[in-house]
């Protein structure tokens, strides 16, 4: 059955399409990545996130990924900006997009403190862009070597992006279908009133019904927008909704580039005429000579071997994309509380979660127990993110164990007293305070030392 599905992607999509949407996607992606990389540098986050911290929270299995010295980190970001610019103009595309993907993923893997769904989207889109011939039209590469130019590409090269965006929206919508979001209007009931002084809409934000309206609209939007974008008669209206929705979230919440990325990416749902017009306009700006010259259709040739491995690769990719968001079902307990299987699942803006954790190191020899001042080892950002995420609590506990072993204590015990509040529940114990975390191992198995979430206490 899966084979059929894949065949569908590759063969029922066998028809060819004009390459224009892909070229526009490449340009849009390059542009927004250039802007967001520069923004990241200007905000001083390279220093703050990757130079200042003494300790980092790598992802499970990627502990070998370490930050480089300060100067090299800046070089990495500069290289990323240059790569983004090259992607934008379509120059040395294969190298640029591969470099961008690798550098970006490297940065993201250094510390999960900064994990954001929008960084995950960037990783995913740049991965897919590596596989498609987005530089074979309207690019510097084609200008330098006209024989590269093609006008027709297999449909999958465009459809895979649509599929990915549909998955993102639909799963984001699916994850909103829960009691907190739909019945309690949480966390919007907390977040919206904080915008009470916004001109015009400020007083509205204080109303409970508005929180409900936003919650329900958000869920319906996420679940339906992709179908509306694919269906011609509703496409324009749907895209207007996309803009409206993301602009609203940009104004109300501190979510950086995320809304703009989504607005740009979803333009891929427009038909090729739209993208051709767009390219025509750009051509008029930069390259008047070739503007308006009619083109004869040229199809790209994928050698069978390449086609084969792309098929395998994409099959694995699609399976993984379908599996990751549902892996939480394999874990017991409340997902928002334990966060086991939470990341990489397109769950956006679902929780107002906050915690305080006291770490205790005990010398088993003397029985003396001391409380750690977290600010000595972690930045405020790291501390805040760590305090609500059990895998980070464990990583930090192991770090403290190692720090105190170095200080000469034999097998120090590390225990925590951790309080977390989730969507206005009020703070309650999060982690079993009797468990010595220094001996607990990280794995994909359920963490038994997370206390079950009780709404009523």
């Amino acid at each position: 059955m899966f084979k059929q599905f894949i065949n569908k992607i590759f063969f029922s999509f066998k028809g060819e399409k004009h390459i224009a949407p892909l070229a526009v996607l490449r340009i849009a992606f390059g542009a927004i990545m250039l802007i967001s990389t520069i923004r990241f540098l200007l905000k001083g986050w390279v220093h703050e996130f990757y130079v200042v911290p003494k300790f980092f929270f790598p992802f499970y299995g990627f502990e070998w990924i370490k930050p480089l010295p300060a100067l090299c980190m800046y070089i990495v970001f500069a290289a990323m900006a240059i790569a983004a610019f090259f992607i934008l103009i379509g120059f040395l595309y294969r190298i640029s997009i591969t470099a961008f993907f690798l550098l970006f993923v490297y940065i993201e893997l250094i510390d999960k403190t900064y994990y954001l769904n929008h960084y995950y989207i960037v990783s995913v889109i740049s991965f897919l862009l590596m596989l498609v011939p987005a530089n074979r039209y309207f690019s510097v590469d084609v200008m330098r070597k006209p024989s590269l130019k093609v006008t027709q590409v297999p449909s999958w090269t465009i459809n895979i992006f649509k599929w990915q965006l549909c998955l993102i929206y639909f799963l984001a919508g699916l994850s909103k279908l829960n009691t907190d979001w739909m019945i309690e209007a949480m966390p919007l009931k907390i977040w919206l009133p904080a915008n009470g002084n916004v001109p015009l809409i400020g007083s509205l934000m204080q109303q409970t019904w508005v929180a409900y309206a936003f919650s329900w609209f958000g869920a319906v939007f996420d679940l339906s927008v992709c179908f509306l974008l694919m269906y011609k008669p509703t496409r324009k209206a749907a895209y207007f909704l996309v803009i409206l929705f993301h602009v609203f979230t940009a104004l109300l919440f501190k979510i950086g580039m995320f809304p703009y990325i989504m607005i740009f990416l979803t333009a891929i749902f427009f038909p090729e005429e739209f993208h051709l017009k767009l390219i025509e306009r750009l051509r008029n700006l930069f390259d008047r000579k070739t503007a308006g010259v009619p083109e004869k259709p040229v199809s790209i040739y994928f050698p069978p071997a390449k086609r084969k491995w792309l098929q395998v690769l994409l099959s694995i990719y699609i399976l993984l994309q379908l599996f990751l968001p549902f892996r939480f079902l394999l874990y017991p307990g409340t997902l928002y509380w334990t966060e086991e299987g939470y990341r990489f699942s397109w769950r956006v803006m679902l929780m107002e979660k906050s915690g305080t954790t006291f770490f205790y190191v005990t010398d088993p020899q003397t029985g003396r127990r001391g409380e750690i001042v977290n600010a000595r080892y972690l930045t405020p950002f790291q501390e805040r993110m760590m305090e609500t995420q059990p895998d980070m609590i464990l990583q930090y506990a192991h770090y403290l164990r190692d720090v105190y072993i170095k200080k000469g204590i034999k097998s120090p015990k590390v225990t925590v007293e951790s309080y977390v509040t989730l969507n206005g529940s009020g703070s309650r114990l999060f982690i079993d305070s009797s468990v010595d975390l220094s001996t607990q191992q990280e794995s994909f198995l359920p963490k038994k030392w997370i206390l079950p979430f009780q709404r009523k206490q």
């Binding site: 904080a194 009470g196 400020g202 803009i243 979510i255 950086g256 501390e383």
Partner: protein, 381 residues
């Protein structure tokens, strides 16, 4: 038609992007936690700014001026009356400090140089002070003198020798140098206090205006800055005033309790100071204290947000816990360096109280108000 649509679209996106960039500093100022008022300003910020913070800095600046002139007077002709006078003004100034130390990490206190927080790094490095006096090194703001300046330094200089204090300023061979060092430390405090006040006051850099208009709940809003600063100061208080002396820090030390690590070890007013600090926090929370009595404090935001805690109201929980902590702290007697040994359980109770308050402030209050602790993008996961 399609072309127009495209133009409209690009225009809208470009506009939005530029708005986002242009406002990346200012659009944080867009929201208000719930202390609405008729003037469109946030009445909680108005009250806290005008009636608590500003008067706090005013009295701090005033008392440090008095302290400094008392030091000058004492140095001119040291005698026991003048010593008593300068000692009592020191205690007053140190207490006044506790009312403003909660605002150390934002606004003028953090932007002036040296930052105000440096005025209270304890325990003092007495050896360093002694050697500075011998070598007549009065550059109290040198990097190496970080724990040889500010209130802890005066605490040592005026109380460190017990009954011999006056002798140190009269007949001791280093008397002249000691006077100079005392004067340098006191002037440094006075200068810092004056600079912070000038930064806040309407006739100076008018940060009070920025503060009052900094509505919203982002990290750079006044509420965000105030809560972050207050929570940080509160944690320092818990750790440094009680945690370290009580031996709560990790193993490595041999003594179970470390009495000489307390704040104001020599003058022995530790509890008095800790109480002043706790009451200052209580004042910000209830909107009372210094000159405020209209009860517009952080409390109001929680009431308005209708934040719950274990079935009750979070606002009530915090109010009750604060009052309980004050009561428990009042059971401790000064000098703390003695009572920490004779009445360790009471000190441990206070420590536990403060821990509970840290959780309530940092976790429940911040979460209920949607206040972020950190900068950086956040998509809520």
């Amino acid at each position: 038609m399609k072309r127009n649509f495209f133009f409209l679209l690009t225009g809208a996106i470009v506009l939005l992007l530029s708005v986002n960039f242009a406002c990346s500093k200012h659009n944080d100022n867009t929201s208000g936690g719930g202390g609405g008022s008729t003037s469109g300003k946030d009445s909680v910020l108005l009250n806290i700014g005008n009636n608590i913070i500003l008067p706090g800095y005013q009295s701090f600046a005033a008392v440090t001026v008095s302290l400094d002139s008392a030091v000058t007077d004492f140095n001119a002709s040291p005698n026991s009356t003048k010593l008593a006078n300068v000692q009592s003004l020191f205690k007053a100034a140190y207490t006044a400090w506790q009312l403003v130390s909660g605002y150390n990490t934002f606004g003028p206190a953090s932007t002036i140089s040296p930052a105000l927080a440096g005025l209270n790094l304890f325990p003092v490095n007495a050896t360093k002070i002694d050697s500075n006096i011998v070598s007549n090194n009065n550059n109290v703001n040198a990097f190496t003198n970080a724990t040889a300046k500010g209130f802890p330094a005066i605490d040592y200089l005026l109380f460190g020798a017990g009954n011999n204090t006056l002798f140190n300023y009269t007949s001791a061979p280093t008397a002249a140098n000691r006077k100079q060092y005392l004067a340098a430390v006191s002037t440094d405090i006075k200068t810092g206090a004056a600079a912070a006040l000038a930064g806040w006051s309407a006739s100076g850099n008018n940060y009070i205006n920025t503060f009052i208009n900094g509505t919203g709940n982002s990290v750079s809003s006044s509420l965000g800055l105030l809560i972050n600063s207050m929570v940080q100061d509160f944690e320092i208080s818990k750790n440094d005033r009680f945690g370290i002396p009580l031996g709560k820090q990790p193993p490595g030390t041999t003594l179970p309790v470390l009495p000489n690590e307390v704040e104001a070890y020599y003058s022995g007013v530790s509890i008095q100071l800790a109480l002043a600090e706790l009451k200052a926090v209580q004042g910000i929370y209830l909107g009372s204290g210094v000159q405020a009595n209209n009860n517009m404090g952080l409390n109001n935001y929680l009431v308005k947000a209708n934040a719950k805690y274990n079935g009750g109201l979070l606002s009530d929980t915090i109010r009750v816990r604060l009052a309980q902590s004050v009561t428990d702290m009042q059971k401790l007697q000064d000098p703390f360096s003695t009572t920490i040994l004779t009445n360790t359980p009471a000190a441990n109770t206070v420590y536990a109280d403060l821990q509970k308050l840290v959780v309530l402030f940092k976790t429940d209050m911040c979460s209920a108000l949607g206040v972020l602790i950190t900068f950086g993008d956040n998509d809520g996961d």
